[in-house]
């Protein structure tokens, strides 16, 4: 059985390098991904198209330039983009499509799929491979996840992802949710992990065994928080389990060593703050902002993240970090 690996280093990794990717870095990574036989890889600001902002971090290089550069390096691979309605717009998607992006993942909070109807419809009309991405899936019940996934499918999504944005899910939760989607939907099912509780690989295996056929990873785990399932590790593990990925493992390892490792700004090990993300169920991209605010206001970043978890913040609410940090000093 063949599984589809989608590498998110050049999108989720954008958080980790504070949105500083250069055209040269993206070209080198794109070339390597293409050579290694990775079918899809994602290029966008960490918060998707239009994410460049003071709230999340300004992109050093316009993401459309990065997308164009990535596309020009591809002979067999295809470039995917992320679009979060409310942050990016249909116009942004049209622009990315014009530059050669072939796939889009339209992402909403796990309970808010209905804001994405127009964007999914447009994506299909543009002829893009179209996925719905249910962020913060750990926060909703199995029934809710199924209900929202069905909405995505009804709008035209060809794949629906369970997205563990906070790296807070455990394997049994992943199994249950993916199985329920498999039973209730006709489209393909995907899974996106974060490694904050060291569960990314285990969760990915659980997802595959429950029927997921699209799997996200990042090289050297270059993604928000403690990063994602490490793509090169995932390829090796899935092969050992008897699945085909069509990816050349050595070439992927070389790419991780030669291109990704040198551009990393910090190691992707699980620190006490990334562990707290998973423990408290906080969106992984809050990590570096929380570290900065904790220093600025002289508070413990774990207290800060725990409090934000209690407030049930959703992806994108980075502004809460500063308010909560100020309050903790009082």
């Amino acid at each position: 059985m063949t599984l589809n690996i989608l590498d998110v280093s050049l999108r989720d990794g954008s958080h980790s390098v504070r949105h500083s990717f250069t055209e040269e870095q993206v070209r080198a990574a794109a070339k390597g991904l293409n050579a290694a036989g990775v079918r899809y890889f994602e290029v966008s600001h960490g918060d998707g198209l239009g994410g460049s902002s003071l709230q999340y971090g300004l992109s050093a290089t316009d993401e459309l330039k990065l997308i164009e550069a990535a596309v020009s390096e591809c002979t067999t691979s295809e470039v995917a983009v992320l679009l979060i309605p409310g942050i990016g717009t249909k116009k942004d998607l049209e622009n990315a499509s014009k530059l050669g992006a072939k796939m889009v993942r339209v992402a909403t909070h796990v309970t808010e799929a209905d804001v994405a109807a127009q964007h999914i419809e447009l994506a299909r009309n543009l002829g893009l491979k179209t996925a719905g991405f249910l962020m913060m899936s750990h926060m909703a019940s199995v029934e809710k996840v199924v209900e929202q996934a069905k909405l995505f499918e009804s709008y035209g999504a060809e794949i629906v992802y369970v997205t563990d944005s906070a790296g807070a899910m455990l394997p049994n939760d992943v199994t249950e949710k993916i199985k329920a989607l498999k039973q209730n939907l006709q489209c393909e099912i995907g899974f996106h992990a974060h490694n904050n509780l060291s569960m990314a690989m285990a969760n990915t295996v659980a997802a595959v065994e429950a029927g997921a056929t699209y799997l996200d990873g990042s090289l050297r785990a270059l993604g928000a928080g403690a990063g994602n399932t490490q793509t090169e590790v995932m390829v090796a593990v899935l092969e050992k389990l008897g699945y085909e990925t069509g990816i050349d493992l050595y070439k992927l390892m070389d790419l991780a060593n030669d291109v990704i490792a040198p551009l990393m700004q910090q190691s992707q090990e699980i620190t006490s703050s990334s562990l707290t993300l998973g423990y408290a169920g906080v969106y992984s991209s809050f990590l570096l902002h929380a570290q900065k605010a904790a220093k600025q206001f002289g508070v413990d970043e774990r207290d800060l993240l725990m409090k934000i978890g209690q407030m049930k913040a959703v992806g994108g609410q980075e502004d809460l970090i500063y308010e909560v940090a100020q309050n903790l000093t009082r």
Partner: protein, 296 residues
Amino acid sequence: MKKLKVGILGSGNIGTDLMYKIERSPLLEMSVMVGIDPESDGLKRAKNRGYNIISNGIEGLMERLELVDIVYDATSAYAHKHNSDLLTAKGKKVIDLTPAAIGPFTVPPVNLKEHIEKPNVNMVTCGGQATIPIIHAISRIVPVDYAEIVATIASLSAGPGTRANIDEFTSTTSKAIEVVGGAKRGKAIILLNPAEPPIIMRDAIHVLVEKEGHEEAIQKSILEMVKEVQSYVPGYTLKATPIFEGKKVSVFVEVNGAADYLPAYAGNLDIMTAAAVQVGNEMARHHLQLEKEVIL
């Protein structure tokens, strides 16, 4: 004193909330609620309160134009142009609460009187009403190169219109940040949060000013502006002390609503409808002034 008769097009969250606020206006008279679903909560409430109701939309209203002087449109961006063209052709004033924005933007504490004579004025968006006053408060002290807002609202307060118009929300708000807020470049982001109990509307405003400094003057200007907004939305408050970091200024506000229709968490409804009532009141004042002049 003669009041101006008000029609509300759209019996959803915004239209219904607006009805309660019109009732309190000394210059406006709630006359008719127009919807497309006779079973909608908004139409039922309007009927119970003794107002005229029309349940076949704009077509129905066009046959009863004697009921209105001003029409508030709280339908959707897609329906607005059609509605407005029909009404303005018959000399009715239109106040647009959708993000269609075919008329000029009005944010009361910034430009309440500027477009009062226009046939159609637009109220931007809830996020715009909550943040543009602050951007203006900064840009009146020091030039603003860039301003960005992030509005987070409770999922329950976002009706189907808002959900289907999410791109229009961001593009209309961005444009108004520039035109009314005075920023050279604007950007808007909206987030929906489903937490229970529902979260109170909150907005982050991040601004890049041309030059560092003027911190005290900016702080003072922001505080004055907050007071001004509070005059029509009492639950509008600063959530934290503004943060200055080089050329970047970040301001955080929270909007508690008056709980006229949806509970207080839905400050996003209130700031829109309360601002729209300000504009209606001003139109009424202007109208009475004109009448007086004619009599004299």
